[in-house]
Symmetry: C2
């Protein structure tokens, strides 16, 4: 294992400290907890809390800021945060307008965020939850009942965050988050595994000419392995699986997210993105906006995922609303 | 070699098409050339052209847009663009106010951008040049006389771009670029090599427990190799080399750029950034702004560089000016 770290046992703590020290204009650390909160809180809006295991950076701490999240809770690498951590994040950001929890669909996350919500509700805090499940690869995998939540989650952060920033009620913020979840699907592939620092060895192995289709962001098995082929064929295969969902049709307008899993050069992501544009154009689907980069990573895994979000007027407007967070790499 | 590409011979072409198709609101392709230009050109400003070999994405095409570059020229992977390509970029963006070329110090780049400048000047276009050389690792390496230009180049793009956007003259834009170059230094390290697509095999090898200190962004040799150690010790070693330049002193204010080389998780970059904050604080150096992410990559190389820029009031104001380009990952 080659990593630029000090001690696997402290890596999340040191990362959070580094993140907050690097972006003091955006972030604060919630004293005593693995939680980062928005620096300049607005007191008159619904607040959003997300999080999950670490190792997916910039998700989720990098998306804390204006127009997106109010707090992110960081578990150990690839491990759900405990209920008390989530509970503290909820208490830290609530201002009486209510809190929406954005949870990726992993059994541990769902259970622990649920418990935290109950604890907060016992304190009289209004809490609602949405569970993202955009990954069409497999149902009921290693740590999940149903579909997994992956990169499409970032689109929920963005759109629900914009709705909250605009002053909407908790019910309306939840409703738009649910609409994003209903309209978004993702599919990924990997060329190489990643190594959890505390484990010290790769989570699985792939042969030199092999790729895995549909792998999860913690290295969970995908649909199958096959010999690596061209970017065009890989892209077509991922899109075919997404199109099998029967959501995206000729005449629709979509947003596209080409997400790198950590070690894939932007050059390759742009080759994939170019093919996505071509395929969607051929299908008569209009692209309103494309995002290309590392949004939801899996440590140093090589590979990518493609997410589509079908837009209506409301979603399109909220997607375009201003946001300002560390992961948007503002100069 | 495992890459998500179609054909090594077409990868730059396909990347540029993908980049422009992904970000039509920002970028245009200069028909027939490996050049991307700013979509909504301002006609009353000095224009900036940069570029170099491909494989460093988002540099440089990702920094084309408001407040940064007006065009980026993309050579083959790790290969200087030819003079005619640079010449066409200059012609495409010039509006009579003059063009500043921002060149990373590699002999091929310097020669080819020089020739392009002469061709443009013969057409009556005002052209000035600056050459970035922020890498303190080594003098006179594989493809360079003097120091190499690496991630600090992005700070030149940002600050000179802001100066141009504000309406300054060509002389003043060049002067502020020179000030950034004089005040910025970088130092990097690598844990793993990268593979040029057309070569198909890694550019060098490192043992499983080895790292290279001071390696260039094309895999050029650094100062030495040694056994991998902690993030804190690596960071201290990189900073010590930068501090040996006698530029950064107690009482100074700086900007910090923690740059990932392609395959290093953001988690690790934040661990490094946390240590940088601590060391600078101990030295009495104030940090005005920290950037953490993949700005100037080396394909899928694992590793990072640290850049410092000493600020004065002008540089600080220009660094903070608004910019809007694809690599700033605007939502």
């Amino acid at each position: 294992m080659k990593k630029i770290i000090n001690n696997p046992d402290n890596v999340v703590e040191e990362m959070l400290n580094g993140m907050v020290a690097s972006h003091p204009e955006y972030l604060e650390r919630l004293e005593g907890f693995d939680v980062v909160t928005r620096k300049n809180k607005k007191s008159d809006k619904v607040t959003l809390v997300s999080g999950g295991g670490s190792g997916h950076e910039p998700a989720h701490g990098g998306f804390v800021g204006k127009g997106m999240l109010d707090a992110a809770v960081a578990g150990a690498v690839f491990t759900s945060p405990t209920p008390d951590q989530v509970y503290e994040a909820i208490k830290a950001v609530d201002n009486g307008k209510g809190v929406l929890l954005v949870i990726k669909n992993y059994s541990g996350d769902v259970m622990n965020f649920d418990m935290a919500a109950e604890m907060a509700e016992a304190d009289g805090i209004k809490v609602e939850k949405v569970v993202t499940n955009d990954d069409v690869a497999v149902e009921n995998s290693t740590w999940t009942i149903g579909r997994r939540g992956i990169a499409g989650t970032i689109l929920v952060h963005k759109i629900a965050g914009a709705k909250a920033e605009a002053g909407a009620s908790l019910e309306d913020v939840k409703a738009v988050a649910e609409k994003v979840i209903a309209n978004s699907r993702s599919m990924g592939m990997a060329l190489s595994p990643c190594t959890v620092p505390a484990a010290g060895k790769p989570s699985f192995t792939l042969a030199d000419d092999e790729m895995e289709i549909g792998m999860g962001i913690h290295g969970e098995p995908g649909t199958h392995r096959e010999s690596i082929t061209t970017a065009d064929e890989i892209t077509q295969q991922l899109l075919d699986k997404i199109f099998a969902e029967d959501i995206y049709h000729s005449g629709d307008e979509v947003a596209v997210l080409i997400n790198g899993l950590g070690a894939t050069p932007l050059m390759e992501l742009y080759v994939v993105s170019g093919k996505v544009q071509t395929v969607l154009q051929e299908k008569g689907i209009k692209i309103a906006k494309t995002y290309v980069g590392n949004y939801m990573t899996s440590l140093e895994m090589a590979g990518c995922s493609i997410s589509l979000l079908k837009l209506d007027a409301e979603l399109k407007e909220l997607l375009a609303a201003p946001a300002d967070t560390p992961a948007l790499v503002q100069f």
